[in-house]
Symmetry: C2
Subunit: 350 residues, 2 copies
């Protein structure tokens, strides 16, 4: 395709790091941002990687996000901690949170680390996957960065897509990585449909009269629908209370639209849990059992017209392998925005 | 209505306790069973309370479930434990698990206790709600006791409804209690529809050709559908790995149909998490904030035709209050089955 070009992962992470360094971020933090944001793109979460860079930079320059945040533990038990993210990028806050959770889980078996005064952190899988390196299971939940969903039966936008990710290591197969919004469609998919001039399927959004809304350019009038009706609403509410309210972070009407307002402090809340497999099972045996479950699902007979069963994390692994080998496709429109950003910051173009 | 009669809660719990005692269960365990099973009925989970008593008794008498199980901690860290339930009733195993989780969370801030060699434990909310008494948040997940769902796109019944419950205390309002299957409809709702001669709505089940199945008497040929399509499949899979595989309990093809086979050991797995609010926030402030979120949701403008917003746990609280005052309705057919059971066990009828 002529409207895309492929960029190698290390080049992409280097470019992102340069952009943050040009704004005054420390070298180590900039590199961390580069790695994590590129990891989102490598994994195929195109709406959560470098795509967000211009918006993050805009927020930093508008004074809405700290470039060198003072991330502090403000309360702690042996298996828990609450971080104040110092209004820094969510990536820095939540990678710190995941490190701390892993450290604590090594002795305690499990650890739960929450954060307040954080910001958008990219895709959920980044943090759920961090404990895997230590043979732990990871779990991550966030309050989404803008409200697009009402309580079930209502029309006021009081809830977000509040995503959950859970990562469970396997042996020979790809790691099981679930990463899902509590809405039928994440809002990024609505934006992508609008960009492409496509119609949305019924079931993604309704309007305030309860009628299906399929024109993504009208999404500002629309309400995202939760998965399973009242069930997805319940999940979004519970996750918001756990990731937001419990941490002293924003939830409900206090949630600031991260895209619309670059200056207001978002006070984004998230939490991460690390669960040490060895506290329950022999690690190798467990991983082989996960392979076994993988195989069982794959060998199911299929519904007519279905080509195969997919496991959560399978596409992530395949996309990652492909993009690490062949580079990350950057659509022309995004490339132009990144070029403009590079010129503005006085750094080398991607 | 003439086909129901109301029974006071303490009479119901006493009847249940007598039934287990007649099978040789210890007095304290029998009372525990009576309280917990009646609590399911009080809360309105009619398919998970005394309704299950004949089946539990049948399993005990067939040698498929231990009446006085030896419940043991088989591995432990400061914030985790794995219980071997000794093939006892899930109620005894998981109330022990919840007690242990609460005890550990008092010092550690959070605790995660899993169990293997357990059995059906009634409704999930029972165990998620236990930590509330200690100002903790509770979370409970189980591998369902029969597979009724295929992996997304498949037709082999490898997954169950694998439910989750999360309980979060409020101050002046009812506690927030989410209790949901990862399927659109729990299998109990299908059975209830069959009992009543009703048709199921489209979206609950499909047949193996992928066509909607709305006749509940054909449910044995049907597949339950997950909430949010692949998302609910992913949740069910993840919960099965965490509650089953990680604990050395059954998951996937190893799951025994609890209803169909009264002899085979089910090796049911579950886990419960207790999270101490005080490790993150001032307890009273937090509970008032939960009230605030409750009020926010309630005050949302409504979609046409909707009477009001409901919070998870609201109906549970209302039903509990009503049934504690007026008794628990026992349909005639169930009443007759319980009478027959009482006669068989030589105990006083309900």
């Amino acid at each position: 395709m002529t409207d895309k070009r492929n960029v190698k992962a290390d080049r992409l992470s280097g470019f992102i790091a340069s952009a943050f360094q040009a704004c005054g971020m420390s070298e180590s933090n900039s590199e961390r941002m580069g790695e994590l944001m590129a990891e989102a793109d490598i994994g195929g979460q195109d709406g959560h990687g470098v795509f967000r860079l211009p918006m993050y930079i805009r927020r930093i320059r508008a004074g809405g996000m700290e470039v060198n945040p003072d991330i502090k533990v403000i309360s702690e038990r042996t298996a828990t901690a609450l971080l104040d993210g110092g209004n820094g990028p969510g990536h820095l806050v939540m990678s710190r949170a995941a490190e701390l959770a892993v450290e604590k889980a090594k002795t305690c078996g499990v650890a739960w680390v929450g954060a307040r005064y954080s910001n958008h952190a990219g895709p959920a899988f980044l943090y759920a996957r961090m404990p895997l390196a230590e043979n732990m299971i990871g779990l991550y939940v966030a309050v989404g960065s803008a409200n697009h969903m009402p309580p079930w039966g209502g029309t006021d936008l009081l809830l977000s897509t509040n995503p959950i990710s859970v990562a469970i290591p396997s042996n020979a197969q790809a790691d099981i990585v679930l990463d899902m919004a509590t809405t039928v469609a994440a809002y990024g998919k609505v934006k992508t449909a609008a960009d492409r001039g496509e119609t949305m399927p019924e079931g993604w959004m309704i309007d305030k009269q309860g009628q299906p809304l399929t024109d993504p350019t009208r999404s500002a009038e629309g309400l995202l629908l939760p998965i399973g009706g009242p069930k997805g609403y319940g999940l979004s509410l519970i996750f918001g209370l756990l990731a937001g309210t419990l941490n002293g972070a924003a939830f409900g009407k206090d949630v600031v639209d991260f895209n619309a307002d670059p200056k207001a402090t978002t006070n984004t809340g998230h939490f991460v849990v690390a669960l040490d497999i060895a506290a329950f099972a022999d690690v190798d045996t467990f991983k082989r059992q996960v392979d076994g479950i993988w195989d069982e699902m794959k060998s199911s007979a299929l519904l007519p017209g279905v080509e195969g069963i997919r496991l959560p994390g399978e596409r992530l692994a395949a996309t990652s392998a492909e993009r690490l080998a062949e580079g990350i496709p950057i659509p022309q429109a995004l490339g132009s925005r990144l070029d403009a950003l590079a010129d503005e910051l006085g750094i080398e173009r991607l």
